[in-house]
Amino acid sequence: MGFELFGLPMIYYIAMIVKVLVVFVFVLLTVAYATYAERKIIGHMQVRLGPMRTGWHGLLQPIADGIKLFFKEEIVPSQSDKFAFLLAPIIALIPAFIGFAVIPFGDTIEVMGYKIPLQIAAFYDTAAGKVVDLNVGVLYILALASVGVYGIVLAGWASNSKYSLLGGLRSSAQMISYELAAGLAIISVFMMSESLSLQKIVADQAGFGWYAFKQPLAFILFFICSIAEINRTPFDLPEAETELVSGFCTEYSSMKYAMFFMAEYANMVTVCAVTTTLFLGGWHGPGFLPGWVWFIAKVYFLIFVCMWIRATYPRYRYDQLMRLGWKVFLPLTLLNIVVTGLIAR
């Protein structure tokens, strides 16, 4: 293959750049159209039409919203900590968009005799003859979820507004509580797959051996905890409009607000992708469609479920939320680990 850098052929770098750009644009577009889908789906569920004016059935609405937000006035409150105030949206945005790196979204494809796994953080080791991916893939995702909390705490604190501070505190307490339960819920999956590498976990689920069937409790707990962790209804306490105005992003405007918004939706896409990978067999599916089509279909279905839940359930109260996380989910996850340990050997 001629030219090499760090012992990797040139085509590896080309494949890397193409994969990263394609996935980044895909997540960005999904985020944009998830906002549209959410308004449309909830609209129809409430017997309304949702956006109709911009383009055919409002299809250009996300683009119009984006352009509008670019032109909005940027307000930095006089009492705020300016540097932290500007930094917070970026700290929230980056982890939300890079979580996708470890998720395998398809089978290995072959381009010019070089095999390329459809996963960003992976490559085909020609000498060993197998796909090498990040062997701590799941830890990477959990770590990013923790980093995301910093952006929200920082936003709440730096704004120097009472609503922001309370929203930021509530949000961070909620996120770390459910992060714990989510992190414990997926341990039973690793006990069965004996690996943290997502390639291996997906490979184990070939032929409908989905972990959602083998670990139904872990699947349900993880999905609910994830919804709570990304602050979506019925756990959208940080943005409880009726009591906290807009929570941690009360003082934010224009693109800085949009970045929190994008981070929230990107987190939703990532969480749905992780759930698909860990429990719903990843890109595996009946052979008449390529793997990545199945992957996208499963992820979009889970996103639809998130919206469906939002349209169906009212918001939790804060004490109920903390009780559910600490007094119900935490013991259940520990119980699930012990039972799996005794049965699945």
């Binding site: 890397m16 953080a121 990477y140 309370l166 770390i176 013991p331």
Partner: protein
């Protein structure tokens, strides 16, 4: 292993560039008409009373501490979960004892009322 980490670094760079660029672009083209009232912290249209940098409920602090304790437990469980089939019954029993000890602590925290929010 470098081959698996390089793309992540590249993705971080792309995400950071996207974030900074859209922030700069919007602050360049957005209108700017600041006024004293506009830059004051939002308090439902009333004049802000006092500072936001005040004391808040100690509950949040307790939750943060409990999170660290139980998260360390989770960290111990991860490597165990990977090799527990190799460890056999010995590994299961060891981890059962570990979880039971932690569960005693958890019950203590519950009975002390650290998880109450009313």
């Amino acid at each position: 292993m470098l081959g698996a980490y390089l793309p992540i670094i590249f993705l971080v760079v792309i995400a950071a560039v996207f974030g900074f660029a859209s922030l700069c672009f919007s602050s360049l083209i957005g209108q700017k008409k600041p006024s004293e009232v506009k830059l004051a912290p939002y308090e439902c249209g009333c004049e802000p009373v006092g500072s936001a940098r005040e004391r808040f409920s100690v509950k949040f602090y307790i939750i943060a501490m409990l999170f660290i304790l139980f998260d360390i437990e989770a960290v111990f469980l991860y490597p165990w979960a990977i090799i527990y089939k190799k460890l056999g019954m010995f590994g299961v029993m060891e981890m059962a004892v570990f979880i039971v000890i932690l569960f005693v602590g958890y019950i203590y925290v519950w009975k002390k009322g650290a998880l109450e929010w009313e």
